[in-house]
């Protein structure tokens, strides 16, 4: 497929196994090196060992919410890496707080993988 995203390390934080499987498949097709985390705790541990190039992160997750993770990345880790949030429909309030804390973009469920791919490319081109 499209190999031009080669070597981009993408951290995918999604607790729903179905959505995670679908997105991982598609992103890998696009050439991203995808690292999957199933909850907020795993994400934090991963971030402490090494930072990815970009994060796709669900807002509602066990242990640490996506919002907390955005705050952690921007305030504690002082990193400006692109963050795309995934939100459930009807959680607009959360999306606003995520933006305020420095998230770059968001998508509402149900997610279209193709749309995510386009949005990712856009964010990566800004880096």
């Amino acid at each position: 497929m499209n190999g031009n995203q080669q070597n981009i390390k993408l951290l995918l934080a999604e607790d729903d196994a179905m959505l995670a499987a679908l997105l991982k498949f598609r992103l890998e097709k696009e050439g991203y090196a995808v690292l999957l985390c199933k909850d907020g705790k795993e994400v934090k541990e991963q971030l402490n060992s090494s930072l990815p190039d970009v994060i796709v992160c669900d807002i509602m997750m066990p242990y640490f919410s996506g919002i907390e993770l955005v705050a952690h990345i921007r305030n504690d880790l002082r990193s400006q890496l692109p963050i795309i949030m995934i939100s459930s429909a009807g959680n607009e309030q959360n999306v606003l707080s995520a933006f305020e804390l420095g998230a770059n973009d968001f998508l509402s469920k149900p997610i279209s993988p193709s749309e995510l791919v386009v949005r990712l490319k856009r964010e990566m081109s800004k880096v």
Binding site: L19, A21, L22
Partner: protein, 588 residues
Amino acid sequence: MKPKELISWISRVETLLGEFSFEELDATEAKTLKNSFELFKEQLHDTISGNEISNSKLSNTLESNCYTTSRKPNSGAELIANVSHELRTPLNGIIGFTDLLKEDSLNEAQMVHVNAIQNASSSLMDIVNELLEYSKLSAKRELFDSVHFNFYRLLRDVVFLCETLIVQKNVKLEMLIDPSIPEVLVGDPTKLSQVLLNLLGNAIKFIEEGNIDFKIILEKKKEKELLLEFTIADNGIGIDESKLPFIFDSFRQADKETSNTYGGTGLGLSIVKQIVTQLGGAISVVSNLDMGTTFKFQLPFTVGDKTQLRKKNPNNNYLKDGVKLIKGTRILVFEDNSLNQRLIERRLKKWDCVSFITENAEYGINVLENQNIDLVLMDLRMPQMSGFEVSSLIRNHNSITVSQVPIIALTGDFTIKDKEISEMHGMNDYLLKPYSPDELLLKLLKNKKNGRTSENSKETEQPLDSKTILEVDKFSLDHIVEDCMGQLDLVEELISLYKENVLEFIGKIKYYLPERDFEAMGFALHKIKSGLAMMRTNSLYEIIREMSTCCKTTEDTGQLNVLFENFVSEYPNVERQIDAELEKLKIG
């Protein structure tokens, strides 16, 4: 709870009943209605004026299992709870009866009155339910339900759930029911399924391959009182003998390792024991390391009555729309019982459907050939030729308009085997007797659109409201296939994850709903949403949305229960549609 509010509703119902003219009704019908109201009023009067209700009176009027009656009400709250139960029985009668009245040819004025009685009774019912809920809470202990329920249906539901949990493992679950156990029992179906799901779930958890035998026998019978024995035996890892005595203790699993490997809080078995004991039963366990474990428990029940079964009550607004949608549908009914023939004819006529009713296969096929039939309702047990055989005849007919007509099986008793056989004979769906008009309508709507009529729509076809929850649109996996870029193995993986998610969800709600744990339910509801949206199984999604709202706002367990039951009964249909679509993809 305000007695004043209650009293004003009572007098309202009373006035309405007084105004109602019983002249044109069958005398016995009218008497039943009046009697149930008298009984209701008497009970209520006793409650409000605070009269002590003696135990003997309780047992005279209340059909309940031995557990509830043997307990002497010793607190105000408990008394209220018992009495509320009593109030519900006759009130149920009133509501059910007005249902029946509405099916008679009432004149307009009578109809207005019957509707008013029904509305007022329903409001009254809500209040009584509220009262019951409150007293349960203030008594700070669980009160057990005592309702008529379909025992076999409950077992089927439980086994259905468990079977789907073991799909991934090489485990065989076999159920054996003593056929002398009656179909309808009185007891607490929610608690029973909680116990069974816990024990079967445990067995499944601790076994990688082998057998789980689930056996139910009638241990003792004395008139209407039954003692049933449930046995759940597995040949899994077993439990060390020294640890067996503590197995029912709270927060204790066989050992630390177990909880690390298999998870869980260790509460399951202690809850199971509590429930069984409080229901008046006993539980025991026998186990050998590496040989397996056998749980055995006995529970008392009373023989139930089919006519007292709780009706499922889906939202009526949708059904009103539904009636509009099936107007003009041409339905062929195979039914041999003349009473049932009349009943169904009347019902279908009420919905402006065109019906043809017969017990004769030859005549039926003739109707199919000439009358442009949209749908067939098929009684499975008919004297000359079984419903299965007639279905095969239809499916093998050389005219495509005949051979593709949707067929719904009608049956009083439907086992997993019957399900397989009916599918083998090309039947699309089934409806268990006795069914409510609502249930029939739902089945008609569901099958009518999925069937032939969507393609060959006639000019008389009603425009469809796409927003209706009945989700009559054809289900398709196209969007998922597109998302997966045509990769079928991924589609399959997603579908199996979807099924796992749904079953996990059902298990959770079954557990949390009786516990009234709204936060845990809210989280489970949230989790399942994304998968349902992804698969675009909209009918299920709608139910989940409503349940979420309910959890966040009213916390009405009654409504949650109804919605959840709808979900559980709808899910197998959705799964069938998904599987059928997947099969098509694999072939095509």
